[in-house]
Every structure is written in structure tokens, then in C-alpha cells.
């Protein structure tokens, strides 16, 4: 889908369904562009980053783990912007009637998690926090769709997952939260650009403008949760109630923040954790894959996310 406007510069943006394009459009931020945007849709972060690395995409939004792995593989990427949202959506879920009461009960239990996802890190961090190691639980690597089936059938004892899946499970009353990611994970999301695009002044300028528009759109989302949830549910096929839940729990709470040292440090921690597990082949400095030129006057990455009040619990 091309967003047509005047101008000779075309920004190739990688997107996911119900992602940047939908937000910008809903917030009316796609008007009066002086460059073109060419949207490409991906199913998840990793293939999007593959496309960034292949210079097929100039910029795209991903979660907090994919850039770490991409950097670990020395992909040609630069993190250019960040947003901070509530980690309430990142949860370790257990069935309603589960005997598990707290994270430390996970010892010896099987936990479903998607390999390399933010939930993967969250699980590791949560376990570490309660004094458990990776060997103390049985990990079942499952993609969300497969994990849901296993979870509903009681084939796994717990499931570490993120929003909107969390909202979906909670909404269907099939599960409850054992632990959220609050205080455990950084709750960051990133805009990742291709260095080649940043090297082109015209494109770099467009990227700057694009980031600002996203920032404004994010504000709009916070103020119009129902309207956004409607758009989002239509885009993705999520039930409206789940979408609204999810918006209030995490999606709408995001604030645009600077890619500052704190953000880099928390990402470095993720990198080191996975490197310790030998899932990343080398130790590296995440800083090398960050471009801070668009930070401007953005607030620090530790800025608290927004909140809709008690609904976000």
C-alpha cells in the first residue's frame, strides 16, 4: 500500500498488521507528507529485520528482543527510536484452576514460550528474580498459536506471552496471571532503520519526520482508546473487547522516549543473558547498533508509561 503524496523520496516502511500504518492513518498523520511511504507487511519482527538488513526496508517497528538478536548476528541495522509501554501485557499465565500461586512455584513445571521472543527473556528474568535457573523449569518452545492450543488443553503448566495474547486469554477466562513483566522487563519497543537509509540525507530527513508523526499518533491513540481499538480489531481480526483490553493494558500506554544509555543498558542486559545461554554467538556492544540523532528533546527511556487507571492492572 503506497501512501501517495508529492516528493521524490520514498520511505520503505516495514510494518505489521495493526501497526504503524494503521495508527498513523487513524490519527490522521498521513496527510501532507512531502515524501512517499511504501508499506510492507510482515508477520513478526524477525522477518522485518531480515528485510531491513537486506535494505529492502528503510525502517520498521519491532519489540525489544529482535534487535538484540539481529545485532548479535551483526546485521546492518540501527535503532533510531524507542517507546516505553506498560509491561502488564507481558505475562506468565497459568490456567484458572492452577495450583501455582507465585513464580517460584514454576520449579519443575513446563512453561510454553516462543523462542527468542520478549516473553522468552521475561521468563528468564522472572526465574532469575526468584532464584531459579533455566534448568529448573521445563521449557516448551511453542509459537503463540500452538502454545494456545497446548495451554487450553493443559499440556503445559504455564505460558509466557505478550499482548494481545495475554488479553485474549484473560478475556476468555481460561487463565490468570502468575506474574507480569513489570519491574522485570524494560517494556521498550524500537524503530529500527537501515544504515543505508540514514546515510541518505533526504531519507534521513523523512525518517525524522516519520518518527515525529508516530509520536503524535501515539498520543492520539492514548486519547482515543475506543476508536483505536476499533481500528485495530478490524485490522487484525481480534475481537473488539480483546483489542480494547489490550489497548488499555499495554498498547495505548506507550510513550515515545529517547534511545538513551538506560535503554541501551537494559538491552545490553538482554544481549548478555542470551549470550550466556549461547543463543547469541558472541558478546557485543548494543550501543554500536544505535543511532541517537533522532532523540532530540524526547523524555528519558525510564519515563513511566501512561495509564488508563485500574483497567491496566
Amino acid at each position: 500500500a503506497d501512501t501517495k503524496t508529492s516528493g521524490s523520496v520514498t520511505l520503505n516502511v516495514g510494518d505489521q498488521k495493526g501497526g504503524s500504518e494503521a495508527i498513523l492513518k487513524a490519527a490522521g498523520e498521513l496527510d501532507h507528507l512531502d515524501y512517499k511511504i511504501k508499506w510492507s507487511t510482515f508477520t513478526s519482527g524477525p522477518p522485518l529485520l531480515e528485510a531491513v538488513n537486506a535494505k529492502a526496508v528503510d525502517i520498521g517497528a519491532v519489540g525489544n528482543t529482535p534487535p538484540v538478536f539481529a545485532a548479535g548476528a551483526d546485521s546492518k541495522i540501527k535503532v533510531v527510536a524507542a517507546s516505553h509501554g506498560s509491561s502488564a501485557g507481558e505475562a506468565i499465565l497459568v490456567p484458572e484452576d492452577s495450583p501455582l500461586k507465585q513464580p517460584s512455584d514454576l520449579r519443575g513445571r513446563s512453561v510454553a514460550v516462543a523462542q527468542g521472543s520478549s516473553a522468552h527473556y521475561q521468563l528468564l528474568a522472572t526465574l532469575k528474580k526468584v532464584g531459579l535457573g533455566i534448568g529448573d523449569v521445563r521449557l516448551s518452545y511453542l509459537q503463540p498459536a500452538d502454545a494456545l492450543a497446548a495451554f487450553n488443553r493443559g499440556k503445559v503448566d504455564a505460558w509466557a506471552v505478550w499482548d494481545p495474547y495475554t488479553s485474549q486469554v484473560l478475556g476468555s477466562k481460561k487463565g490468570r496471571v502468575l506474574a507480569t513483566g513489570e519491574g522485570v522487563v524494560n517494556g521498550l519497543g524500537f524503530q529500527v532503520a537501515a544504515p543505508a537509509a540514514l546515510g541518505d540525507p533526504a531519507k534521513a530527513k523523512a525518517v525524522g519526520d516519520y518518527l515525529q508523526r508516530l509520536n503524535r499518533a501515539q498520543d492520539w491513540v492514548f486519547k482515543h482508546p475506543e476508536a483505536w481499538a476499533k481500528v485495530w480489531s478490524k485490522e487484525t481480526g481480534l475481537p473488539y473487547s480483546v483489542a480494547l483490553d489490550s489497548v488499555k493494558r499495554s498498547n495505548g500506554t506507550r510513550v515515545t522516549v529517547a534511545v538513551d544509555d538506560a535503554a541501551i543498558a537494559s538491552e545490553q542486559q538482554i544481549a548478555d543473558t542470551f549470550a550466556g545461554l549461547k543463543l547469541i554467538p558472541r558478546r557485543f556492544s548494543f550501543k554500536d547498533y544505535v543511532d541517537t540523532r533522532f532523540n532530540g528533546s524526547l523524555p528519558a527511556s525510564t519515563t513511566a508509561p501512561r495509564s488508563y487507571g485500574k483497567a491496566s492492572s
Partner: protein, 294 residues
């Protein structure tokens, strides 16, 4: 006339043998085909072939309505039909099919041409075989999923990698069956073709290719299925429409009903492919009086 001077030495008289067996063997009737199973035979083929799928459908419905198959496990046919109707109603499914169909068509064309060409090269010449066959046998086992990152690097994220994935699947499948078909052509017929003065190309056209046709038909069956299956991977790269995309997205967002609709669509495509190949076979292989079961 070669025997008249030395007739076989049959010394017994005409009746001798008869006397040795005064009681004849018990006779059994050769039952005409018309008198058995005639009624079943009169049902047209295509109708009889719907029995299996219909039985499956009925089973699904019965298990669903008796609660043996809970809605979590597998939505009931009714639910799926409703979801399907919705998808058709809002144009999602038709437009997805239209887009996917285009990709499949292009991929089939390119892959088909490549596969058949390679099969001809390696089927017809020993040198070609030495160079091509092992290479293809080697490459065809390589999984698509692993190729996607490479394809993105080589071909970008437009239509090219999607079509390339389809073409690849199609090419390998056709190659394998056409090559086997060519190598299964009766050497006596090839000889006859040579003796009739057919040149290399004439041999290919009039002897080798028709002889490889039954194999090619099996290859076509595979190819048609593979082309659609490749979409599931192809349309995970920068797609926002198509049946593969629909499936991926439904998986992404837990739309179990949509997943099942997609599976049903795929099953239907399978039936369609089968019908297409059967029709082609009826047209192209009518010369072949082969075993058709009892």
C-alpha cells in the same frame, strides 16, 4: 508349411484321450459384468468420488454436535461455514484468492517451465544427467523456511520471492516425476522412433514426452498442491493479502475459525486440483488401457 513333413507323433487315436477322462470337469459360469454391481456402476464417477469427503464432513458434524469434538478442539462445520461466509461476504476471501491465484499462476508457469526443461535435459542426455540430476536431488530437499532469509536478500520483498518460492516447489516436483517418467519410457519404443527416422527433437516430442506423460501428471498433482502450500511461506514476506497471508494472520491472532476456513479452502483446492488433473488424464491418457481396480 514348415511342419507338414514331420507331423508330431500323435499315435493315440482321436478318441483315446476322451476315454481316459470319462467324467468331464465341473463347469463354472463366466458371469457377465452387467449382472453384478450394475447399479453401483451406473452412478457417475464424480458423484461416487464425493462420498469420501462427504462422509468426512458428516463425521465432523456428528462429532461436533455430540460434543465429542469440543469447539476448542475444532470448530463445528456450522461455525466454520459461518466464518467462511463472513470472509466471503466482506470480500476478504475472494480478494485473497484472487491475489494468491495470480502468484500461483506465475509461479506454476515459471516453475513448470524450469522443472520440465531440467527434467528433459537430464532425462534425455547422460551428460545432462551427470550435471543436473544430483544437483537437483540435492537442492530439492532444502527447506523453504531456511531459504526465506536468503530470498529476501537476493530478491527483495516484492512479488519476486513469493513467486520464486512457488516456482521452486513446482519445479522440483515436476522435475522428479517427469525425469522418472522419461527414464521409464520403454526402450523398445524409443528404438522404434529412431528407426522411423525421428530426430532428437522428434523423439522427444513423439516418443519420450508422451511416454513420460503419466509421470508428468503425477508431478502436476504435486505441483498444484505445492504451489498453494508455498504461499503459506511466501506470503509471510511482506504480504497483506492472499490465502497464505490469511492463514498466517489468523494464526498470529488466534482466529481458529479462520484457520479452519483456510484449511477447508485448501482441502477444496486439493479436490479442484485433483479434478483438473483427472480431466487432463482423461483427455491425454485415453490411449492407456491400464489396471483400474476391481
Amino acid at each position: 508349411m514348415t511342419v507338414d513333413h514331420a507331423p508330431p507323433d500323435i499315435s493315440a487315436k482321436s478318441g483315446a484321450a476322451t476315454l481316459a477322462a470319462p467324467v468331464g470337469p465341473a463347469l463354472e459360469p463366466v458371469v457377465p459384468a452387467a449382472s453384478r454391481g450394475g447399479r453401483l456402476r451406473s452412478v457417475p464417477r464424480w458423484l461416487r468420488r464425493t462420498v469420501g469427503p462427504l462422509v468426512l464432513l458428516a463425521l465432523w458434524q456428528v462429532l461436533s454436535s455430540t460434543g465429542v469434538l469440543s469447539p476448542d478442539t475444532l470448530a463445528s462445520p456450522g461455525t466454520v461455514a459461518r466464518a467462511g461466509a463472513d470472509l466471503i461476504g466482506d470480500g476478504t476471501l475472494p480478494s485473497a484468492m484472487a491475489i494468491s491465484l495470480q502468484r500461483v499462476a506465475v509461479g506454476l508457469l515459471i516453475g513448470g517451465a524450469a522443472g520440465i526443461t531440467l527434467a528433459l535435459l537430464s532425462g534425455l542426455s547422460r551428460l545432462g544427467e551427470d550435471l543436473i540430476d544430483a544437483t537437483v536431488q540435492m537442492l530439492r530437499t532444502v527447506p523453504w523456511v531456511g531459504l526465506i532469509p536468503l530470498f529476501i536478500i537476493w530478491l527483495g520483498i516484492g512479488e519476486a520471492p513469493k513467486v520464486a518460492l512457488i516456482a521452486l516447489g513446482v519445479a522440483f516436483h515436476l522435475y522428479l516425476n517427469v525425469y522418472a517418467g522419461i527414464r521409464g519410457v520403454d526402450a523398445q519404443l524409443v528404438e522404434a522412433g529412431q528407426a522411423l527416422g525421428l530426430g532428437r527433437w522428434g523423439l522427444v516430442r513423439h516418443v519420450v514426452l508422451p511416454g513420460a506423460l503419466p509421470g508428468a501428471m503425477t508431478g502436476l498433482r504435486y505441483s498444484l498442491a505445492t504451489a498453494w502450500l508455498a504461499l503459506v511461506f511466501g506470503e509471510s514476506i511482506n504480504a497483506d493479502a492472499g490465502i497464505g497471508f490469511l492463514m498466517n494472520q489468523a494464526r498470529e491472532f488466534f482466529r481458529t475459525d479462520v484457520i479452519v476456513v483456510c484449511l477447508v479452502v485448501y482441502a477444496f483446492l486439493g479436490l479442484l486440483a485433483d479434478a483438473v488433473v483427472r480431466t487432463l488424464e482423461r483427455l491425454l491418457l485415453q490411449w492407456r488401457p491400464t489396471f483400474t481396480g476391481q
